[in-house]
Amino acid sequence: MSLDLDMAEIHAIFFEESAEGVDVMESGLLNLTPENTDIETINNIFRAAHSMKGGAATFGFLNISSFTHGVETILDEMRSGQRDATEEVIEVLLASVDCIRDMLAASQNQTEADQGNIDSVQQKIDALLNNKAPAGIKSQPVKKPVSASSAVPSRGWKIHYAPESNIFKTGNEPKRLLRELAAMGDMSIVSSLGDDADFDSMDPESCYTSWDIELRGDIEKAAVVDVFEWVSNQSEIRIEALQKEDADVPENKLAESTEQTDAPSAQVVAAPKQAATQSAPKDSGSIRVSIDKIDMLLNLVGELVITQSMLARFGDKENAGGDAQGLRDGLLVLERHTRELQESAMQIRMLPIGASFSRFKRLVRDMSTKLGKKVELKLSGENTELDKTVLEKMSDPLVHLVRNSLDHGIEMPADRIAAGKPETGVLHLSAYHEGGNIVIKVSDDGAGLNRSKILQKAIERGIVAAGEVLSDDQINNLIFQPGFSTADQVSDLSGRGVGMDVVRRNILDLGGRIDLQSTLGQGSTLKIRLPLTLAILDGQLVRVGDQVYIFSLLSIVETVLVSKGQISKVVGTGNVYRLRDDYIPVIRLHEAFNMSSETLFSDSEEKKGELLVVVESDGKKMGLFVDELMEQQQVVIKSLEENYLPVKGLAGATILGDGNVALIIDVPGLVHSIDMRQLENAPQSSAA
């Protein structure tokens, strides 16, 4: 880490730690109930609020610090037992957490916070504080730097300074203070020994002297006060104006005058503008990595260096042509270490999903209260790690799914009892590994999907032709169609019908898929499968003409040898192949990619058949003709958008071992486009 970060970077760190602080406060508050007021929890919340207030004040976000001040005071009262953690208090504190989060985001992105909401929460805080304010709230509102305090300049000051005898032991040095005073103006000084200064019994480490100083000049009192600022507790200090009649200069009021307070409200107005000085980049973001992962990485780099030196021997002239076995061994080691290095570098981007899950505690609490439902949130697999980008992009879809479950899935308590279920519904969020994928499940024990209602709706909307027979799965999948919503009444909380298709689209974009299982009366489960990482793909290399293309290994279901006669043309759909009991659409990649067919002919001597790679995305299969299956290997995905242009049907490119570029087939995209074509042309008829 570099020694000196600049201010913008420190601001970025502040925003990051504050975001964590807000999360700590929120999850702490969610664990707090009137019955369960764990002091350590309150302490944690308090510390988070306190650091945030301090940081905000230091970095000039005064609206945040003054707002947080009230919150901190309430928390301080709670932890000292002066205030009970009632439902009302917790509610106000949770609302404050939202305000702080909003203000932080506004300051970071230089946007406007919802001031109306903040004001109303501020009023609630004030009401709480006034209501039950214990005698003498100790701490005070936002401090201004001492130098800004409003002291009257005078012709000079008369100062009496008598430090406590142990002043030296605290590391303070009166001489230094006096010298500093002397630098301010014309000074005369009289020192006197205390009465208890008996030479024989003097302790050489104690101070027995006091000083009377006359300091002349146009000096602000604050400047003088400043000199004594932190010895004021250990000293007797009197500062009086010399001759001048501005007689309100009080005696021995150091403590007070160093702590000039400002009305918090006066600063709120100006603060958002001040925040504009920082420029935190919004999306590049930073990442917290455990030291173990870094150590692992360093360790591997070390190994790599050793391997390199081992291999370097073979580059020597003397060794040329020698020891081939040694070279092979060296290369094997190199390969292993490179792979491990790659894996552990990928690990750095992996974050546990727990943080993302725990946000739902709040959502579930708020929404179930609003809806009048009783819901218990269960979390499991919080330690499952996901690529940071995947994690971020999954956040909105997950919120949507959870809202859907709460809104449409779990029933009202009365309905649940009537259906013979426990009054409290269960919403279960879980994450785990399955094969090369990460699975995230959102399941509830609610009402489940009402398939006949869905089908009816779909027919009404013209998504499905009347009289068409659909399997349960097909009906379930209708909810992912654009413009589909079964909520009889569009509620404020979820679903305006734009939801599920967007959710599915987002997941497909990440190379994942979503499946729905539902039993009427027993609940629904949404299962999201995501690739472990976006940057590396287990690839199957195939040859089409003289080009090499890559499929994601996960998308391939099987490969079949097909003779010409087995492909039939269907009007409006294109070519289909009968794969056991299913007809699947097939396309020829060289046609899809407009490759010249001469290239192909040279390769395809009259063969027994053609290779068809059957791929699957989103539960739909399709076949793609290729000329040859080549090896499987892990490839690093390079974005086409960034390096060239987005190309339909391609997910990216990679560089092969021989230096050639190979394009990666976008299977979900192809399946989707075939799907669209069918929807446009004719109602799908995929009965067996």
């Binding site: 020694l3 000196d4 970060l5 970077e9 420190i10 601001h11 760190i13 502040f14 990051e16 730690e17 944690n44 308090f46 510390r47 306190h50 650091s51 207030k53 301090g54 940081g55 004040a57 230091t58 970095f59 000039g60 100790k138 701490s139 005070q140 401090k143 730097p145 001492v146 130098s147 030296f168 032991k169 605290t170 590391g171 303070n172 040095e173 001489k175 230094r176 203070l177 500093e180 400043d226 600022e229 932190w230 010895v231 507790n233 250990q234 403590a255 160093t258 702590e259």
Partner: protein, 124 residues
């Protein structure tokens, strides 16, 4: 140039303090709570300790008291740098043996001036 131990649980505050002090030519070490700071201080001598109050594990006041019990830290200046401004807290800090109390938000110049002041005896 002095060797300073800055103790704060907030990374941004640690960075800010470190940056301020490093720019002034000091050698800065940081610790994220009292326990951390205490074990560092036991192993390495420092000229000044600058600590926050509210921190997990061990707070700044306890840290101050613990440091004062170590013979090598009897006279080392210990400055408390905190948002806490309650008089009662300050007195607790003083009783624990703190040399000074600086209320955040701090002014970089003021901080350096105060440091200069507490470092003076050592230089002469």
């Amino acid at each position: 140039m002095a060797s300073i131990l800055a103790v704060d649980d907030s990374p941004s505050m640690r960075q800010l303090v470190s940056m301020t002090l490093r720019k002034a030519g000091h050698d800065v070490h940081s610790a994220e709570d009292g326990t951390d700071a205490l074990s560092f201080a036991k192993e390495h001598g420092v000229d000044v300790v600058l600590t926050d109050v509210h921190m997990p594990k061990m707070d700044g006041i306890t840290l101050t008291a613990e440091l004062r019990r170590l013979p090598s830290y009897r006279f080392t200046p210990i400055l408390v740098l905190t948002t806490e401004s309650a008089q009662e807290m300050k007195m607790r800090g003083k009783d624990a043996g703190a040399t000074g109390w600086i209320v955040k938000p701090f002014d970089a110049e003021a901080l350096l001036r105060i440091l200069d002041r507490v470092l003076e005896p050592k230089r002469n």
